[in-house]
Symmetry: D2
């Protein structure tokens, strides 16, 4: 069994900013996909914002087991219809991993139902990630902490709902902390947020970061068949109840009709 991963890249700063282009000459998305392809058991490729339908066609989503999302400068350029389509795929069982500045991406905010805000500072300072859930599958092969010598700081309070599990918490040189690895479930879809990855630093070339993302792909993968319509709210006709029910009282609806939305 091979897990099919699509890495979604915004692909803006790689084109406009010489520093970013220097670190990620193939684009961040391709760097991440290449690392996943080396992890074993994963087949990853990438799409970008500039592709038709932002690369998120119905067909592509149907063939994606886990979607990895990185965006920063152009969150607003993502079409709302595509956002709903991505969320439908998650609710139907597609795994999804949000990286770094994707905390403010439309799909993340849509799936969290919360502001997803934080404080931040771009000073190339040291970040140290601590494992807070021992032997969680996402920590496989990692030490109890690891460092990124240069990173952007993200600080608490992080405006997200209480997670299912807190997997990593970050220490920053400047004095802040951040819950940097969080799991969620929405519908049948497993979601992981992972903090590191500012585009002016070589974070996605880091072996530990690559390991976390590969582990998260394996964790997020739901092998059950995608739910065709994850929003369906079927009527159960009175004539086919599991236990005998005699209809009583006034009604608004007819048997088997669509509910109100």
């Amino acid at each position: 069994m091979t897990i099919r991963v699509t890495v979604w890249g915004e692909n803006v700063h790689e084109q406009k900013n010489k520093v970013v282009a220097g670190i990620y000459p193939d684009g961040m998305h391709n760097t991440i996909a290449a690392a996943l392809n080396k992890a074993g058991g994963i087949s990853a490729s990438s799409v970008v914002l500039q592709d038709p339908e932002h690369g998120m066609s119905t067909e592509r989503l149907a063939e994606t087991d886990v979607l990895v999302w990185w965006g920063h400068a152009a969150h607003g350029a993502v079409d709302d219809k595509i956002v709903e389509r991505v969320c439908d795929a998650v609710w139907g069982g597609m795994g999804m991993i949000f990286l770094h500045s994707a905390h403010f991406s439309k799909p993340f905010k849509r799936l969290m139902g919360a502001p997803c805000n934080l404080t931040w500072r771009e000073a190339g300072e040291r970040e140290r990630l601590w494992v807070t859930s021992r032997h969680h599958p996402i920590t496989r092969g990692l030490p109890d902490h690891f460092e990124l010598e240069n990173e952007e700081m993200y600080g608490e309070p992080f405006g997200v709902p209480e997670p299912l599990e807190t997997v990593f918490v970050s220490w920053f040189q400047g004095g802040e902390v951040f819950r940097s690895g969080l799991t969620y479930r929405r519908g049948a879809g497993n979601i992981f947020y992972f903090r590191p990855g500012h585009e002016t630093y070589p974070t996605y070339h880091d072996a530990n970061v690559q390991k976390v993302i590969a582990n998260a792909v394996n964790w997020a993968y739901n092998p059950l068949p995608r739910i065709a319509d994850p929003n369906k709210a079927p009527n159960v006709p009175v004539g086919s109840t599991l236990e005998p029910v005699v209809e009583r009282g006034p009604r608004l609806h007819h048997d088997g009709e669509e509910g109100l939305r």
Copy 2:
């Protein structure tokens, strides 16, 4: 201290359907508000979909400690801008209670980040609600179970995220079950979903149902001052870090500038 409650009513079936008008001659929203006003410590009034801005002006929201929402036939008629405004108020600390068919209302779906779907049947069957969290504040003064002789059935799976707490689970005569009382937190706002309340039955005249809603208002109330901008993501300039940081590496941003969204 008095908790200021606004009950939001869709006010459609009360106008169009004789059965509903007969049970709730003053509208469901006014029945609910009147019950809350008798509970003590609560000052409740109502607004309706048909009011300017659906009754959800910035001023009104600023004066609402807890918002109660009932809608069914006209979810789609609620303006998206108003939905965002309501969510902002929740994230800033306003409590919110969603009743029955409001599981498919725009603000609930927005705050949950999930499909919020279920199965349903309108047969006037018996529902029995069981307390699953003993001595939770929302169960104050209630027995360990109570019945509604005529209700619409809602069945699992209920497409919502795992709650903070499951407070009630319902048994239905026709053979289904439903997690009928669930708590959530989004930003600084406490959220409670409560299942009963189909408009063709006298559910909001029931003493136990009224008690649950009044308890939930007290539970959801956040006495801390509303957060002015719950979406703010402030930059922390390098010059004012809590611990000494020497800036290193390349940057995208200037000190104190707005982050990308």
Copy 3:
């Protein structure tokens, strides 16, 4: 990879009660183990209360990936030292599944930190289990509900902590409900409680029940190496801090000494 399962059976009513002996001539534990061995990818065997160390030797636990526990009449006969040993294995990463009346077993109460009580009735009534977490791995291959024609009733409130996930909720003919499939994590160990399995009914011969237990084994399995001492609280000497720290103020302890317990 094969998951090594030990099924722990109390083995009391099978010996004393003709009805139970008739339904489970090989003992409930062996019926459960045999079903797991047919599921694929699992190698299961059983031990019983009456074995030396209740079958829970240090060696046996070290070779057990997932432990399944059924007990009812003789919870008190389980040695407290063995209970601590089992809990240590769970904290170190062993998965554990508690069945039915094991809600009152010593290891379950120890791991939950809660009363684990409920209401009950032995009337051979119908139970219907509803999936509440769509496409959860423990529901793999199951319909959205299934029935057991004769079961003991367990009713809410169930005195357990809020679970990570609620996977099943049961409907009972007599009017009660019960959260009958709950997940937890303690240390590195995944825990699943599954309600059905009164010994006077043929529940563990049921194909859906067998499927749930096999799915739960796969879900609970933690492939990472067992943590040798899951209770260790190591001192980090001042001389080996990750960031420079100058020791200040008075101390109780010397570098590297054992902490107080």
Copy 4:
């Protein structure tokens, strides 16, 4: 309404160690109780390990709305019967706050069902606590972070179950982080763990720390009457079911008899 608080102090290092005696001449427990008495709406007094029944008589617990617990050197000296009695009170609705080294106290480990271990260093380094749950009642009146100039370090991974809510996360000068404010519910009892408070530093004289503890007392207080027997598992006789049930199949038990434990 006044909340009745008992502060439980181990009272060992105050008697044996000159530094501790110098900082807390009245004992840590009395310093904490005095601060709570100044907070308004709270009536606090203290008991110590050396009191008869460790000060935890049935009567005392019945008159305690919220129990605050500090222990370090003598966890093992606390009688197991008293631990069970304290846990029964929590399950029945008593609030409980565990401070600092009480992470290894018997009642905390009993209520968590987990190892509760961590890493530690006694170097008088700086700790900075960050609020991670905005406008949570326990953060009332606090800034988004505050500092303790001298504290013992506690580091992740902290071996506790996933909390209901993470309220504070700590940054340490030496490079570690710690989830330093966590909420739980066990039975009807609200539980809060709060990290700071090493006995060789003046932590409990700090205004912010005092505010957190007073807020936590208000949060943990459950105004509903204490549950008399939180471990009761009543039989529901067949003759008194809510819905008609015809008894079927073989039985182990007689109507109304005590269940097996």
